[in-house]
Amino acid sequence: MGFSVSASAGVVFLGVFLAAGIVYPAAANGFEQVSDARHDAADRALAQANTGVTVTNATYNTTTETLVVNATNDGTTTVDVSDATLLVDNEIPAPADTTVSVADDAGTDLWLPGETARFEVDLASAPNRTQVVVDHGVRDASDVVEVN
């Protein structure tokens, strides 16, 4: 009778150890995945807080039919020029009609802190509003001023 209790207890304990061995890797991996994702989210939030852009002026030249938007990176992170989006009256102009240069350099993809990017768009009619969107959805908008 005594041996029966010991043997059956041994079998149950073996099952418990086996179950613990199954659940531990799953729980540890799951926790690691979630904590990695939270770490990424915290990194993104920090980068977003450090990113800033200001539209310094937006003018539409009625003679040349060109919209010129100057925007300054006033954050502390480097922004990708190719990821920057210009919205003109809530529409994104065709890439063929848009040229972007940073600090008079049209070839660079880096928009460094303190530098001003110049967006030039060929438009047939004068827009009212324009907005520049950069990484992490940071943006600034401005009214467009018409000049001759």
Binding site: V5, V12, A41, T85, Q131, G137
Partner: protein, 150 residues
């Protein structure tokens, strides 16, 4: 004496069988729970990585821009994961009403809405009354609210 040994043997076998069935049930149930934990943690990690931001300018015209009574908003994928560019990715509510037939297209083309890319969301809202409106966008659990005026 022999009868006593046989009874003990039967009890021993019964005890082992009961213990083995308890252990087997425990192991199989824990296996199911660990599978569920794995799947759920993947979902939670995906939800945390997904993020989107409505980048449309509320100061400019949002409704009926192209004259066909559509609401058009631009949304940027600001998360750490790529998303499929189809209407199943986003849930849109306008003034509390769920919108069907939302057309999602990535600006620049493609079927995948990569990180940092802007997608155009367009849906029909005929006869939207003049006044204040509230658009709610849900992308993989991330909720954004955009308010505009018509």
């Amino acid at each position: 004496m022999a009868g006593g040994s046989a009874a003990e043997l039967i009890l021993f076998i019964a005890a082992i069988v009961v213990a083995a069935s308890v252990a087997g049930t425990l192991t199989s149930e824990v296996d199911r729970v660990s599978d569920a934990i794995s799947a759920k943690s993947l979902d939670v990690a995906d939800e945390i990585r997904a993020d989107a931001e409505i980048v449309s300018d509320a100061g400019a015209q949002v409704y009926n821009r192209s004259g066909n009574e559509n609401v058009t908003v631009h949304v940027r994928n600001t998360g750490a994961s790529d998303l499929p560019a189809d209407s199943g990715t986003v849930d849109v509510l306008l003034d509390g009403e769920y919108q069907t037939g939302v057309n999602v297209s990535v600006v620049g083309g493609g079927d995948t809405w990569h990180r940092g890319e802007v997608a155009r969301l367009e849906f029909s809202a005929p006869d939207l009354p003049t006044g204040d409106h509230r658009l709610k966008l849900v992308v993989s659990g991330d909720e954004e609210v955009f308010r505009f005026r018509t």
